[in-house]
Amino acid sequence: MSAVTSPKRPAFARGTKPTHKARQRKSIVLTIVMAIFVIYSVVPLVWLIVNASKDQADLFSSFGLWFGKDFNLFQNIYETLTYRDGIFVQWFGNTLLYVVVGAGGATLLATIAGYGLAKYNFPGRRAVFAVVLGAVAIPGTALAVPTFLMFSQLGLTNTPWAVILPSLISPFGLYLIWTYATDAVPTEILEAARMDGASEFRTFFTISLRLLAPGIVTVLLFAVVATWNNYFLPLIMLSEPTWYPLTVGLSQWSAQATGVGAQPIFNLVITGALLTIVPIVIAFLILQRYWQSGLSAGSVKQ
């Protein structure tokens, strides 16, 4: 029974588990050690926020971890968004497109297939599993060059499809849903639905999907991060700057600072970097109770 209710309430499921641990004494030494971990993790982000508030002159003249003479954050944001007729906004839109279609599609495919693998014993199931697990071992980036060569034969390069199609496959997502569905969707419920004459897909969409929700949010979030952060694939697939995602665009801006005819725009690179990570960090913070419980997929079984 707990397996049925707990996926909907990950926070409670998590909170109730380790009763024996509540007695434990808090350790100050351990807290200090972990504080060092946090400082290491957070300092570069603090640096980014501080320096997004500086103009080029202040960047060179002031200490890295403190603010400069003028507070230029809003000026920098304005310049970033309007530089070269607002190309940054266009890159932002492209990234959104790749994320919504690519990560959304990847999550859908992985969810349906992972569920199928978990709940049906069909001929070739083991083969599917072996092939997909084998694919995890193939380095995605090593695949990128061959994929580019094939896509250029098909005339797909320099179109959004060149970025979207390869991001539709998430073997890790499939694996996660597969392990999650095994426990989260009790076979008895499926059998009861079959008795009532519901088709397999109707059962999936009306009953199973809801039970799988925390797992799906987890897979979606990781797929979103993967596509939002995608760099190598769009870098090789796209030659037209109007199709660039943020990552490729930013790296072009950064490269602009060196070489012949250098036009350094450090303040825009830094502010653009900050604007790139803000949405994804917010998404993680808002959805944290879901993905944290989704990741500890097995923790719902008692």
Partner: protein, 308 residues
């Protein structure tokens, strides 16, 4: 696209259902959409690349079948070996450090002896949400002598204490960026595995008088074996396909980071600077095979220990 796949999956359902009394084919209705895309964007490029490796574009007469010549050339190519050696070195040093730190962090967070556990968990995980490109840009600035923190530290001590872009240190500088990006992610994988240890196990251990340290070594670490194997495999794959960080730092240290700094950069530059597509595909295929074999060995060793 999203709804189109769903409709496709729905339409595929009735056909397999009809035969359910003989063999249960219904599962294919669910798995088929994934497998079709999988074959198109993963398997097909691999096959296409393998075909490419067997040909070579000549100056005269276009593309010609050359058998395994590209592979023979690659095995005698000092640039390939140098790049492979570099990522192997990177792998052997960076991965244990990163996974060790992740393990310590996961055990600390799971220990319930921290003040503000959830703050630590989210703060350490946060860098994972930062795109590799942005991470490389930020650290590139920080490493810089002009307005980075390295410059400030060097000014403070009065001499060149830190030189992240020197040829001796640049690999460590990259290792630091990668560690920063993925420490929290691996911590979370370990933490998730720690959470599924049944509470009764701890209670039994406490009844037997086991201390915290004993619980960590006898219960927690063994329970983490599967997660450690998974994290190690992902890290090996990540190391072998190292590209983003060195490629971005190349702008800042063009004399130290060559066009064949990692196998992936070599494959990229062969394709896009040199137009040597067949040879580039050979690099990609060989690296894919090496990675798959090593990942398989790690997985095999990991699961064999589990049987004992």
């Amino acid at each position: 696209m999203t709804s189109a796949t769903a409709v496709g999956a729905r339409a595929a359902a009735p056909a397999p259902r009809a035969r359910k009394h003989k063999r249960d084919w219904r599962g294919w209705g669910f798995v088929a959409p994934f497998m079709i895309v999988f074959l198109a964007v993963l398997v097909a490029p691999v096959i296409y690349a393998i075909v490419l490796t067997l040909f070579r574009t000549q100056l005269v007469g276009g593309s010609a079948f050359v058998g395994l010549d590209n592979y023979l050339q690659l095995f005698q190519d000092p640039r390939f070996w140098e790049s492979l050696f570099r990522v192997t070195l990177f792998l052997l040093i960076q991965v244990p450090i990163m996974l060790g730190l992740s393990l310590v962090a996961a055990l600390a967070i799971d220990s319930a002896r921290l003040h503000g556990t959830s703050f630590f968990r989210i703060a350490i995980f946060l860098p994972y949400a930062v795109p590799g490109v942005v991470a490389a840009l930020i650290w590139g600035f920080i490493y810089g002598n002009q307005f980075g923190l390295t410059g400030s530290i060097n000014d403070l001590v009065g001499f060149q204490l830190l030189a992240p872009f020197s040829s001796e240190w640049v690999l460590a500088s990259i290792g630091n960026i990668v560690t920063w990006e993925f420490m929290g992610y691996n911590m979370l994988i370990f933490y998730a595995a720690l959470k599924i240890i049944p509470g009764e196990l701890y209670e039994a251990a406490e009844l037997d008088g086991a201390g915290q340290f004993r619980i960590v070594t006898s219960i927690k670490i063994p329970a983490l074996r599967g997660a450690i194997v998974i994290a190690t495999i992902f890290s090996i794959i990540g190391s072998f396909q190292l590209f983003n960080e060195p490629n971005l730092l190349k702008n800042l240290a063009p004399n130290v980071i060559s066009t064949y700094f990692t196998p992936n950069m070599y494959a990229y530059n062969l394709s896009f600077a040199g137009q040597q597509f067949n040879y580039s595909a050979t690099v990609a295929i060989v690296m894919g095979i090496i990675t798959a074999v090593i990942a398989y060995i790690v997985q095999l060793r990991g699961s064999r220990q589990e049987v004992r």
